[in-house]
Each structure stands twice: as C-alpha cells, then as structure tokens.
C-alpha cells in the first residue's frame, strides 16, 4: 500500500496494522536525514492513526449497521448499530456466516432475526472493499421496520379506502341499473322511454343528458334533459333545435357510426372547438360549458338507434372509465327496451290495421244485408203481392238468418271499432229497469228455445242516470246470450241495480261453468273454451271481449265467479258520477 495515496475508506484496520506488521521502526538512525525521515514517518503515522480513528469512530457511531463480510460471506467486522440490529454482541457476530450479500440494484430488503425479538425489516446496501488485503464486502444495514409498517398501514388504508369506494360505487351502480331497468321496463312507448332514460341519467350521474335518435332520414331526433333546477336548462331548447346530421363529423355522429363510446374526462376549449366546428352556429352546445362528457351509442343487435350524450357541468365531477362502463351498461339495457318498444309499436300498428280492415269489411257486408232484411220485410208484409203460407215461412227463414248475420256483423264492427280506438261514448239518460226489460224481451226467445228458465230482477224506481244506453244494452245482450249459449239446463237470471255509486249488472247461469285457469282467457277475443262444443256454439267468440272493452270504455270493470258444473256469474260494475261515462267521453273525445 502506498502511503502517499489517500487511504481507501474502511481499510483502517489494515492501515492500523501496517506499521506493526510491516516495516517496524529500525534502530535509531543517527544521520540528520534519517532523523528527519524518522520524525516525518512518525508524524505521518500519527496522522494516519488519527485519520483511522476518525473513520472508526464515524463508523462506530453510525446509526446504520455496518458489517464487513469476507469472500465466503463471514462477518469480519460489525459496528455497534449492527450489534443492536442483529441482537448479538460483536464477539458473537464476528465469524458468523451471513452469506453472500446479493443485492440487485441499489438496495434490497431483508429481515434480520434478532434472537427473541420480532424480525427487523432492513434495507441492505453493499459495496466492494478489501479487508486484510482480501476482497471483502461492506454491508450497510438500515432499520426500515417502522417505515415499512407505516407503508403497510398506508397501503392497507388505501386498499381499504379503495375497497370501500369500490363497494359503494358498485352498490350505487347496481341500484342505478335496477332503478333504470324498472323505470325503462315500465313503458313501451318510445318517447316516454327516452324521456325516462334521460331522467335517470340526470338524476344519477349527469347535469345534462342529450339523446339523439336516428330517424332514418334527415337529422337525428334530439331530446335533451337537464337536472332539475339546473341554471342553464334554458339553453337546452337551443340544443334541441340543433339537430345532428349523421354525415357530419361531429362527435355524436362518430359515436353513432362506430358504435364505440367516447369518454372525454376533461372537456377543453380545444376539444369543444373541434367538436362543434362543423355545426354549432348558435353555440348552444358550448354555452352549456360541459366539464366532462361521455357519449354512448344506443344499439340492439346490429341496429343502431342513436347516441346518448352525458355531460357534467360541475368541475368537481369528472367522468372516468367506471362511469363509462356504467353508462354503456345502462344504454345496453335501454336499447333492449327501445327495441321492445319498437317491436310493440310495430305489432300494435299491424293489429290496428287488421282491426280497421275488419271494420271496413263488416261495414261493407252490413249494407247489402240491410237491404236483404228490408226487402224481405216488405215481401212479408205483402207489399210485393199476395204470398202463400209456404212463401211466408220461407221468407221468415230468410229474414231470421239475415238478422242473425247482421247481429254477428254488428258485433264484429263493434269489436273492430273498440280495437281500433274508434268507438265513442254517447252519453244520455238511461232508464236501468227499462233497459233490462228490453234486453230480456230480445233474448227471451233464445232461452225459450233451449227450455231454460229466464228471470229478470230490476230495482223499483231506480230512475234515469247518465250513460251510453246502446253500449249498456250491448253489454247485457252479450252477457245474457253468452249465458244461454253455455247453459243446457236450469236457468239464467239477469239482475240490475244501483248500489251506492255503482251500477251493477249481473247475469247468473246454471251452465257448465269455467275452470279457474281458463278465466283469464274468456275475455280474450276469438276465444271459445276448449270443450266438446267448441265452435259448435256459433258466434265469433268476441262477445265477452266486447263486454270487457265496452265496460272499460264506460269506466267500469267486469268480473266472473264460476264453479265448473254449477254455473257462472258475470258482474259488471260501472261508476256513477264523475268517474262515469262522462269522464270517459272526454278522454275519447279526440276520436
């Protein structure tokens, strides 16, 4: 070792020993030069010793553990801090096999195992050095137990917080989806559906929700909603008047075309300028000053419906990926409902077209039939000349059949008008007792023909009330003929009365009855219960359906109580007063 070069750090032991093991001071020299050299040497040695002591005390006092390991990983030196860290006296530490200190990078974490104490987490750093002239490793060990524990606690806290936030967000999402599903599922009307969708969005996550629906040609139909009390909601009108043309390079049009949702966590001036470059003459869009936006496409299957734009205008509410996935899920559900609504509308329109067709055909059939009945009557009266008894009989037969046909057609027309929403309520004074007697007169021959007892109970002096007499009569006729049709022995009883605020019409029979599970079906059109007499009973199977629809039109309801083999009782309850036909007539006045 050259004494002229500065001693490397941690070679103090070697340094300290060099003078003893190396050239020991020779006999005193007598020359000036040698004296001078000797004293110089002593000065140097003293300086070196002082330097060594300085180093030693520095290392000794270091708060970090310092250990020197030889080439085999054995401890050659340990400072006071290392004694504390390892829980061992220096004498016990020196000579122990620590192992080759493997460190990747600057430092590595290890656990020290002081006997009888909890492990100490430590940072280990290693530097190459020499010891007794041999390559050695200087190991610096710093206790980081508290730091690690604090980190661990912090991590736990963060994890806990994140878990709580996630759980809250999750339950909020589930709640929102549930609410949205219920709200959306409750309607099949497209406009209503979109309105509700927008409402759910502004209630839960957005300040403004704009829905653009593809109208096949032309601009998209636009519907906008804002949070209640939202200060800029007046601007929405301008927004609704700014339609999106799909050909344009607007963000909405892009989302619609690609079907990929877009999240703009932070809406910048530049973004707004770019987004509204092509069409925002009125500045409606930017005047809402959105801070964060999401645009999600509405599609079911391959069919694209539209785009929903959700805006937050609150700088502290920025949308993130979880909001985006929530919105996507919401739109997916909404799209399903939209599709259902569309299918329902298509089906409804088809059904209405059929009803209209039915009404027209029936009307066309009735006109010539009226002529047949009329002229048959004239012939029967002898206006066309004297008739033989046989001719009379034949003509009577013709007239009866024609009248039967007319009744059937009337039923179909009524049914078609009801189905097509064309039936109107024609309110006038009705004498309930008289009405019941008239119906009885009309239907008694049918009962007589089947040898059924037929009785009528009417209230005394019930007086007149306001309703649609023709419709009441049709309800009663349908119920009575239905009862007679399905009763083979026993009796049919018709009772009408006014109970409190209701008109109650009741038709009781001792017929074959209706199995409980079939009850919901009997008011469906074209339905005759599945029994051996199916379709043998004649009629179109729409009598009870008409009863139901007429009753509803008059603001009432119809029910049935029945026991198979014992008979059935049909009861119609119609409200008197404000809930009655008058109210109903206003509702249908648009027809």
């Amino acid at each position: 070792m050259s004494e002229s070069s500065p001693p490397p750090i941690f070679e103090w032991d070697a340094l300290g020993r060099t003078p003893e093991t190396g050239a020991s001071p020779g006999p005193l020299a007598s020359t000036d030069a040698s004296i001078s050299a000797e004293s110089e040497n002593q000065v140097l040695r003293a300086a070196l010793l002082e330097s060594e002591n300085r180093f030693r005390s520095t290392v000794e006092r270091s708060v970090d553990g310092v250990v020197v390991l030889d080439g085999a990983g054995r401890v050659r030196y340990a400072n006071a801090a290392a004694e504390g860290l390892f829980g061992l006296a220096r004498a016990d530490l020196v000579g122990r096999d620590f192992g080759y200190p493997a460190v990747a990078g600057d430092a590595t974490e290890i656990d020290l195992l002081p006997p009888g104490r909890a492990p100490v987490v430590a940072d280990m750093r290693v530097a190459e050095t020499t010891w007794d002239g041999q390559p050695a490793r200087l190991v610096l060990i710093r206790d980081v137990t508290e730091r690690k524990a604090a980190e661990e606690r912090e991590r736990d806290l963060i994890r806990e917080h994140a878990a709580r936030v996630e759980a809250e967000a999750h339950s909020r999402r589930v709640e929102l989806l549930d609410r949205a599903s219920r709200s959306l599922g409750a309607t099949l009307d497209l406009e209503e559906l979109l309105r509700r969708l927008a409402e759910v969005m502004v209630d839960e996550i957005a300040d403004v929700c704009v829905i653009d629906i593809d109208d096949q040609n032309g601009p998209m139909r636009r519907l906008a909603a804002a949070r209640r009390g939202y200060p800029r909601s007046a601007l929405l009108k301008g927004l609704e008047e700014r339609p999106v043309w799909l050909g344009l390079n607007t963000a909405e049009a892009r989302v619609f075309r690609t079907g990929t949702s877009e999240l703009i966590p932070e809406v910048t001036e530049a973004w707004l300028a770019e987004a509204t470059r092509n069409d925002d003459p009125a500045g409606a869009f930017s005047s809402l000053q959105p801070c964060s936006m999401m645009m999600v496409s509405l599609y079911s299957g391959s069919l694209r419906w539209g785009v929903v734009t959700i805006m937050s205008c609150n700088p502290s509410v920025r949308f993130g990926p979880s909001d985006q996935s929530l919105a996507e899920e919401l739109m997916r559900r909404a799209a399903i409902t939209v599709e259902n609504a569309r299918l329902f509308r298509v089906a409804q329109e088809a059904s209405k077209a059929k009803s209209d067709f039915l009404a027209i055909v029936s009307h066309e059939l009735r006109t010539p039939l009226s002529a047949i009945v009329g002229y048959t009557g004239l012939l029967e009266e002898g206006i066309g000349g004297e008739l033989s008894a046989t001719q009379h009989d034949y003509l009577a037969s013709v007239r009866r059949s024609a009248e039967h046909l007319i009744r059937l057609i009337e039923q179909v027309i009524t049914f078609a008008r009801l189905e097509g929403d064309h039936e109107r309520v024609d309110v006038g004074p009705v004498d309930l007792a008289q009405l019941a007697m008239d119906v009885a007169t009309l239907t008694r021959p049918l009962a007589d023909k089947k040898r059924l007892a037929f009785s009528v109970a009417v209230p005394e002096g019930s007086g007149a009330f306001e309703s649609d007499e023709k419709k009441l009569a049709q309800i009663l006729i349908n119920l009575v003929t239905n009862a007679i049709k399905y009763t083979d022995g026993g009796e049919v009883h018709l009772a009408v009365e006014v109970v409190e605020e209701e008109v109650v019409l009741q038709v009781k029979d001792t017929g074959r009855g209706i199995p409980a599970e079939k009850v919901p079906e009997i008011f469906e059109p074209f339905r005759q219960l599945d029994h051996p007499n199916t379709r043998r009973e004649g009629g179109a199977g729409i009598g009870l359906s008409i009863v139901k629809n007429l009753t509803r039109l008059l603001g009432g309801e119809v029910g049935v109580a029945s026991r198979p083999g014992e008979g059935s009782t049909f009861t119609v309850r119609l409200p008197l007063g404000p809930r009655g036909p008058k109210a109903a007539v206003e509702e249908t006045a648009a027809d």
Binding site: A72, G73, F86, R96, D97, F98, G99, Y100, P101, A102, V103, A104, G105, T108, E109, I110, D111, L112, L113, P115, P119, V121, A122, M124, V126
Partner: protein
C-alpha cells in the same frame, strides 16, 4: 408457511438447498418466486429445495444460525454456503452458491428433471 420439499430427482448427487424466509411478506414471496425461477430455469444437475419459514420453525433457523432472511443455503454437497438478500439474479446466486449447477448454455433446459417440481 409450512416447509415444503421439492425433489427434482432421486439421483444420488442431488444438490440440496434450503430457503429460509420470514413469514408471508412480499419479501418472502419474491424470494420464493425467484428461487423457483432459478430451479425451474434448468440446472445442469439434480437439485432439491426445502423452504422454511423461520417464524414457524425458529429452532431450525437457530440451528443453522440464520442471521437474516431471505437466505438460501446449500446443504449438500459441502462446502455449505449461503446467499442472503435478493435472489433475482440467477447467475449471481448460482455463481456463489452452486457454480457447478450452472449449465453451459443460458437456455433453460427442459426435461425429466422438471418432474415433481411442485410448490405448495
């Protein structure tokens, strides 16, 4: 963590290692992962690895006079040597503890020696 034993082969000249870790900390997991990678990377001779959790088996750590963990010990063949600290550098670890196991090629070797390599 229970002590686990892995036998790479039944051959006589098996090199036996024991990895000492303290508990189930991230340090322990990282060490176990690293040593698994070393063992699985293909060594030129058979080896056997035990893993000992010093918190569960302190007497074993005391017997071996383990000062710190993670420490990997070569139990057999002699001389007994150990590596303490980061075991991520395969060449560094093997170079010190079992240079004879370092295959000539750095390519991981596949073969029957991988059989039975299961960690708990």
């Amino acid at each position: 963590m229970p002590a686990t034993t892995e036998d790479r082969t039944d051959a006589v000249a098996t090199t036996r290692f024991t990895l000492y870790v303290a508990g189930d900390s991230a340090r322990s997991q990282r060490a176990i992962r690293n040593i698994r990678q070393i063992v699985d990377s293909g060594l030129s001779g058979p080896c056997h690895l035990d893993i000992v959790d010093v918190l569960e088996s302190p007497e074993q750590a005391e017997r071996e006079r383990i000062l710190a963990t993670p420490t990997l010990l070569r139990d057999f063949p002699p001389p007994r040597r150990r590596v303490t600290g980061d075991l991520s550098n395969r060449d560094q670890v093997l170079g010190f503890i079992a240079p004879e196991l370092r295959p000539n090629t750095s390519e991981p070797r596949e073969g029957p020696r991988r059989l039975g390599s299961q960690f708990g």
